[in-house]
């Protein structure tokens, strides 16, 4: 589904990604962990070209995002993105946030889009908030709307960029619950997260990125039980201490 080869990304003279190779299969849930500034979000943002890779290959569902022939707007509908800061559109109500994509990108008519939007809002447990505005929602509700907004394009893969990091602790669960449900339905997911329990429970594979490279990748049981790389051991020790 996603194939990343030798991905490099520099911001000016700062090299953030120093050769990332990652393949994600259909239906797989991959969690990416790592210290802040390690480049894990950048990997995610390179997949739908919100950041333009400096070099390397990124292929999403057969589309080479670096190729001139690729319609990046189409690829973005295939790879839904959920942001740490939600980025809901504050001037539109919840339903309009969800239906904007279907209406303007897919050309779906309003009635059909509303129907789809309400279904998706029901799926994330917010059907009753359809006519509310984002600022009237809690953080967890906002993030669930953002998930519905991405799902409205019927993406083949979902990218989550620290989806719970901006939430109050008691609101984290409701978002993870929705993500868990998506994973169980077979959605291909890449999740940058600090939620170790979520990674342990839901991921098929956990990846540790530090200093711009993948230091370790393994299935979750082994990953958490037997971390091999010393930096990962150190990182897990610190994170678990904090919990």
């Amino acid at each position: 589904m996603i194939e990343i080869k030798n991905l490099h990304k520099s911001f000016g003279s700062l090299e953030v990604l120093k050769g990332i190779d990652l393949t994600v299969n259909k239906g797989e849930v991959v969690c990416i962990i790592g210290p802040s500034g390690s480049g894990k979000s950048t990997v995610l943002r390179c997949i739908n070209k919100l950041e333009v890779p400096t070099s390397g290959t990124v292929i999403v569902d057969g589309h080479d995002i670096m190729s001139r022939e690729t319609d990046i707007n189409y690829v973005r509908t295939e790879a839904g993105m959920v942001f740490q800061q939600f980025n809901l559109f504050p001037h539109m109500n919840v339903l309009a946030n969800v239906t904007l994509g279907p209406i303007k990108v897919r050309g779906v008519n309003r009635d059909e889009a509303d129907k789809l939007g309400l279904e998706l809002l029901a799926k994330v447990g917010l059907a009753d908030k359809a006519r509310n505005y984002p600022e009237q929602l809690s953080g967890g509700q906002k993030q669930r709307v953002a998930i519905a907004r991405s799902l409205a394009l019927q993406p083949r893969v979902m990218l989550f960029d620290e989806p719970t990091s901006a939430l109050d602790p008691e609101l984290v669960g409701e978002v993870l619950e929705v993500m868990k449900q998506l994973a169980m339905e077979g959605m291909t997911m890449i999740v940058v997260t600090h939620e170790m329990n979520f990674a342990r429970e839901v991921a098929d594979r956990v990846i540790f990125i530090d200093q711009g490279v993948i230091q370790e990748a393994n299935e979750p049981k082994e990953f958490f039980a037997n971390p091999k790389h010393p930096r990962l051991r150190d990182f897990l020790g610190k994170v678990q201490l904090a919990c």
């Binding site: 919100l50 509908t77 504050p90 303007k104 990108v105 009237q136």
Partner: protein, 222 residues
């Protein structure tokens, strides 16, 4: 002979100013509509990824902002026709001057407002597959527009008052009409007071109208 204020002259002058007032309103409305269009265009051009487009808009803003409107008006009305070999009607020249002049300031207002919107909004819009122009139109612009209202109000008021400068190119607007009345009755104090009152009434109306618009937009969240 001591000066004697005659309030009745002020009252009598007001209806005589109506012809000039009408022209002032035409020029302001025409000039600002065109000016907003020009300003929005130049403001967005300043945010373009294309160097040349950015520089072009920058040149427009710098030259217009850097020269007095009075000079612009005289250049357009007296100077340009010499080069073109044809006269420009004063009203048209007046509207053009207000449009081009206000457009330069509005460009900066538009640019500032658009830049003040969190880049995450553009990213989120692009991430659901909207093209850049669509993302601007449906997501960024409506939010930026709300932030433009107070500085736009300021500019509208300035432009309205600036129409009085157009009397030098023979536009029979409000101040010019007042001047013509003074030429007949020599009551400069009362007549110009009446002129000032009319300007004030119009600027207050603009402030009030924009406040209402702002309130209406504010009902829907930030």
């Amino acid at each position: 002979m001591a000066f004697q204020f005659e309030p009745s002259v002020v009252v009598d002058t007001l209806p005589m100013l109506m012809r000039g007032l009408k022209l002032t309103i035409y020029i302001t409305l025409g000039g600002l509509s065109l000016g907003f269009f020009l300003g929005a265009l130049a403001g967005l051009m300043k945010l373009s990824r294309n160097f040349l487009v950015r520089k072009l808009a920058g040149f427009y803003v710098e030259t217009i902002r850097g020269t007095p409107m009075l000079v612009q008006a005289m250049f357009l009305y007296f100077g340009v026709p010499m080069a073109l070999g044809m006269r420009i009607p004063p009203l048209v020249a007046g509207i053009l001057v207000i449009a081009v002049n206000s457009g330069a300031y509005i460009a900066e207002i538009v640019r500032g407002a658009v830049q003040s919107i969190n880049p995450g909004q553009m990213e989120a819009a692009r991430s659901i597959g909207l093209r850049r122009g669509q993302a601007m139109l449906y997501v960024v612009w409506p939010q930026a527009f709300k932030r433009m209202i107070p500085p736009l109000g300021n500019q509208f008021i300035i432009s309205l008052k600036d129409t009085s400068l157009l009397m030098v190119i023979g536009v029979g607007e409000l101040l010019r009409t007042g001047q013509e009345i003074v030429a007949v009755n020599f009551r400069a104090f009362e007549v110009y007071l009446a002129v000032a009152i009319v300007y004030l009434a119009m600027t207050i109306s603009i402030s009030w109208g924009l406040r209402c618009l702002e309130k209406r937009l504010q009902i829907q969240s930030r």
